[in-house]
Amino acid sequence: MKMKLKVENMRVVLSKKDIISDINLSVGEGEFVSVLGASGCGKSTLLKAIAGMLPLEGGSIFAGGKRIDNIPAYKRNIILLFQDIRLFPHMTVAENIAFALKIKKIPVERREAGVKALLQQIKMEGLGNRNINQLSGGQQQRVALARALAAEPEILMLDEPFSSLDENLRFDMRLLLLDIHKKYHMTTIMVTHNKDEALSMSDKIALMDGGRIIQSGTPEDIYENPVSCKAAKYFGDASFFEGTVSNGKFQSTEFSVDCNLKEGKYMLMVRNDAVEPTAGDDFDFIQRVYTGKEEEYIYQHCVTGSKIRCLSNKKTDPFPAPSKTSFQLNLERLRFYKI
């Protein structure tokens, strides 16, 4: 795949503090990459630096093979859609969409045709003369997307684009964005803290923590094989147990598991779908978490107090769950991290 964006050893310092450092990121042409991470981990800073709104303290950025970190933001042809949408309030919907075309001095007829096609694309035909304050949050988001597309950017970047939308709108907007991404073969980078969003939409995910990318890879890879406890903990549906490996066996108060690891202290990660209740009384039932599409039981170890999450099968597991149980682990799904 042809490389569209390459970030090498990027470092950004704000108020004498390292906000992001050692950032290396490659995005292929037409690829959809999500930058995932908790609030304050530097995701938005990364996008702003790529867009040219923040100066680099070190490193370089290449777009389409050309170094761009030394050229101003308005010449990079990389568009960043901000979290707060930022539609121009003194312009109508059509004027907002046509803005980039006007700046490029595209003739009026072509501008009008472009706006019409984009309004159709975002399913807002006939609303071109509306004022921005007459639109709903979802409509504003769609107009912002159309305005960005009108500029025909080489790379489209979105900073938490759906965070202000309700769940239904968010789903629709995800579909629209993916549709546009495929139709225009757009190279897209999206910042999000929503793991489901990142897993469901991306070709690749870059997971950030503390201003660094701690892992990048396909959604399947990053979910199934997190490289560290931090990476694993981000996805939230796992339990962790500290123990020691000796003689090919991981031993903690809660579990004893055969493994093929060097001796030392390890953290065992157990996903909620890798545990199966079995006869015993090591764990006490403390909570049922029902989310509609799935149901989880939370148990607590009767000695250490550590918690384990167990995904129930709603069809076969009758509720209430057993008040005391033990668990057997699916060895293939376990992950160990040296500590």
């Binding site: 867009a51 990389i78 121009f88 003194h90 004027e95 700046i103």
Partner: protein, 268 residues
């Protein structure tokens, strides 16, 4: 909510009355030959005041026109410099920012006579006393605190979010200013210009001192006439003052809105 609205309306009505009553009185005086206490109305209609303004005082109209131009220039420069200062104070961090901001307010903090005499000393040194350029600089300096404050508040409220977005869409700084910032700040720009214009146009002491009697503005012309106590003439001059200022405000608002509409109004 209704209660609050009623209070607001009463306050607005009081403000309107306070502004309108003097205008009505001066208008009545301008067209009256004699108006003695305790008569409710003046004795007879008279155009003596306007004859004095437009016919007898041959220099009056010329001074009015040149005064309008001086004040328009002063207001223009005060608005432009005020915007740039406001932009710097609001958007950038630099050493002694707070002190400099405070310094920019000094012309209205210290008495205008002290301010005028202070800059007069320097203008004599620089050889620009008793000249239009000296009067113009004095007026601009005196208007700056108002324009910096008006535009600073508005610039702060606007932030640089829209400019950043415009730059993402391919605008350089200047294009972003004319397409985005200026249209969004238009009400404040008009307010700042109007405020600066009226301060400059009504400035008597600074003009007298820095102009040394050589540079005559409308305020300098009118002040002794009003002081003389002839209310008919004072009324006529005041009406001309008011109407010319109103015309300038309308003209400026029209021109700047036309320019902005030319730039922004036809995006598609």
């Amino acid at each position: 909510m209704t209660n609050k609205n009623s209070i607001f309306r009463v306050i607005m009505a009081l403000v309107a009355v306070c502004i309108l009553i003097p205008i009505i009185l001066m208008t009545a005086w301008a067209f009256t030959s004699r108006w003695q206490w305790p008569d409710l109305l003046g004795e007879s209609l008279s155009l003596r005041g306007f004859e004095e303004v437009f016919i007898n005082n041959v220099q009056g109209f010329r001074i009015l026109v040149s005064s309008v131009f001086i004040s328009m220039e002063a207001a223009f420069f005060a608005t432009v410099i005020g915007y740039m200062s406001a932009q710097a104070f609001v958007m950038y961090d630099f050493p002694f920012k707070k002190w400099l901001h405070f310094g920019s307010m000094l012309p209205i903090i210290i008495p205008s006579s002290v301010f005028a005499m202070g800059i007069h000393v320097y203008f004599i040194k620089w050889g620009i006393n008793d000249s239009i350029i000296g009067v113009l600089i004095g007026h601009v300096l005196y208007c700056l605190p108002y324009t910096v404050n008006i535009l600073g508040d508005s610039r702060e409220a606007l932030g640089n979010r829209y400019e950043q977005q415009a730059m993402m869409l391919g605008c350089d700084g200047v294009t972003a200013f004319f397409h985005i910032t200026l249209p969004l700040m238009l009400p404040s720009v008009i307010s700042a210009f109007s405020m600066a214009y009226i301060i400059s146009f009504s400035q008597y002491f600074i003009t007298m001192l820095l102009g040394g009697g050589v540079v005559k503005t409308y305020a300098v012309l009118v002040f002794p006439l009003i002081s003389a106590g002839d209310r008919t003439i004072a009324g006529a001059y005041t009406l001309v003052f008011l109407l010319s200022s109103m015309m300038i405000f309308i003209l400026f608002e029209g021109v700047i809105k036309f320019i902005v509409k030319k730039i922004v109004g036809t995006e598609t």
